[in-house]
């Protein structure tokens, strides 16, 4: 048993890491856009739309991600071949982004909804009193504040989905965990591979969290976002 991984092994693990990062970034982006729309629908939409958004959110939160992946993968393939809808014949990676994106959007909508609730409602009245439309008030008052307030929640969501992405092996996408698993099968270097994969996840989690903290500070507003809570934390 060697203590140093071969260049070939590294190459494969890095390729897996790239897939994991791409998948995580894409699913978070899809989930963000859908999640924000769902949360806005819940908070400001007319009754029927709000109800629809709530059902959407409950449904996708209830679905185990593995089930969602498999159903979507075979479902889309089935529709594509039965109705000859060629555009539905998506590559496995795209199906994965879609399934994870839908799943994450349900969670992200709740993060965002909490953030919307934390905004003092009088500000919307003030915006309307200036002559802004409802949409302008949401666009210029609610969104900028809610997006900032949501960052700690996203940090959490990021570290969660990062590891969940390993489920994509079920539809034939090879990411970091799968890559490691295949190398283990081949080389029998179980311990070393295991440690390396775990360390890569650790680094990814750390980098992502650090990036979000940087964004939070960069766009921070005194009195609105987590201004060095730690400093006060030490006082009390």
């Amino acid at each position: 048993m060697s203590v140093i991984l071969s260049w070939d092994t590294w190459r494969l693990l890095l390729a897996g890491t790239v897939v994991t990062v791409e998948l995580t970034a894409s699913l978070l982006a899809v989930g963000l856009v859908l999640g924000v729309l769902v949360a806005l629908g819940q908070a400001y939409g007319p009754r029927p739309l709000a109800a629809l958004c709530s059902s959407y959110e409950r449904f996708f939160r209830a679905m185990p991600i593995l089930v969602l992946l498999i159903v979507l993968n075979y479902g889309l393939a089935f529709l594509a071949s039965t109705y000859e809808l060629l555009w539905l014949r998506l590559p496995a990676f795209a199906v994965a982004v879609l399934a994870f994106g839908l799943h994450s959007s349900a969670y992200q909508s709740q993060i965002f909804r909490g953030a919307i609730r934390a905004i003092k409602p009088g500000q919307l009245l003030a915006a309307r009193a200036l002559g802004m439309t409802r949409w302008q008030a949401i666009r210029y008052i609610v969104l900028p504040q809610a997006l900032r307030l949501a960052i700690p929640g996203w940090s959490n969501e990021y570290s969660g989905v990062l590891k969940d992405t390993s489920f994509v092996f079920a539809i034939g996408v090879t990411e970091l965990t799968r890559q490691g698993w295949q190398i283990m099968q081949r080389t029998r270097e179980v311990f070393l591979i295991f440690i390396t994969v775990a360390l890569i996840y650790l680094v990814l989690t750390y980098l992502g969290t650090w990036l979000l903290e940087w964004v939070e500070r960069r766009w921070g507003v005194p009195g609105l976002t987590g201004q060095r809570q730690e400093e006060y934390g030490r006082v009390i």
């Binding site: 009088g122 003030a126 309307r128 009193a129 200036l130 002559g131 900028p144 609105l224």
Partner: protein, 252 residues
């Protein structure tokens, strides 16, 4: 056409559920006039003020801004609201924006000013309320009195035909009330048309041209401040003023 009437309210009614909050309120405000509305808590003063820019929809009655009936369903309410400044009890500044951006936002997004024009206008208004040097402070970095002055500047920047104030000093510590009243007094002296809901009897008496005493959704008494404060015609007005002076130690 009655030339210099800025706001006319006719037989305004509003109910919430079974409770009738406004039971037929009518009055007019002339160009350059400062009208004070006083009365006990829960009487419908805020409801009345919010009906005037339709933040609350009245059930019945008509409201005119100059010659435009703003209660008409055909009116573009966002166009009307630009012309009516509203100052809230708890300021309602936009928490993520600096004082300057709070004042600039409406100019840019509602009135379509360029950034340069909006900045000039906003700085002018901030200077007017004595806060030019706080332009880059966020609301959380300002005292309550300063926040309220920014919110007055924000409303003034839109160049309103009338300013509505809903208890603008009620959320302030006593030592901060003066600076806000000072700004309002200057506005009144410059000839701004204003409707002020207030518990500051001293202000109503010395600055305003007309006073309305309201109770339980109706106007009980109306007249110039000397009459309402020194020689009230209605026993209810006398009772209320007596209670207020007990609470606040007389008209300040």
């Amino acid at each position: 056409m009655s030339s210099n009437i800025v706001v006319r309210v006719e037989d305004l009614h509003k109910r919430y559920g079974n409770e009738e909050i406004l039971k037929g309120v009518s009055f007019t405000v002339r160009q350059g006039e400062a009208l004070a509305i006083i009365g006990p808590s829960g009487t419908g003063k805020s409801t009345l003020l919010r009906c005037i820019n339709r933040l609350t929809e009245p059930d019945r009655g008509r409201i005119f801004l100059e010659d435009t009936e703003i209660t008409s369903p055909h009116v573009d309410i966002n166009k009307i609201r630009q012309q009516i400044g509203f100052v809230f009890q708890d300021f309602n500044l936009f928490a993520h924006l600096t004082a300057l951006d709070n004042v600039r936002l409406g100019l840019m997004k509602v009135k379509g000013f360029s950034k340069k024009e909006a900045t000039e206008r906003a700085m002018h208004e901030l200077a007017r309320v004595g806060l030019a040097e706080k332009a880059h402070a966020y609301p959380a970095q300002l005292s309550g009195g300063q926040q309220q002055r920014v919110s007055i500047a924000r409303a003034l920047a839109m160049d309103p035909k009338v300013m509505l104030f809903d208890e603008p000093t009620s959320a302030l510590d006593p030592e901060l009330i003066g600076e806000v009243l000072q700004v309002m007094q200057e506005l009144a002296e410059e000839g701004m048309t204003m409707i002020v809901v207030t518990h500051e009897m001293g202000f109503a008496r010395s600055v305003c041209d007309e006073v309305i005493f309201m109770e339980k959704g109706v106007i009980v008494e109306q007249g110039p401040p000397e009459q309402v404060f020194l020689n009230p015609q209605q026993p209810r007005t006398r009772q209320f003023l007596g209670k207020i002076s007990e609470l606040y130690g007389g008209a300040r």
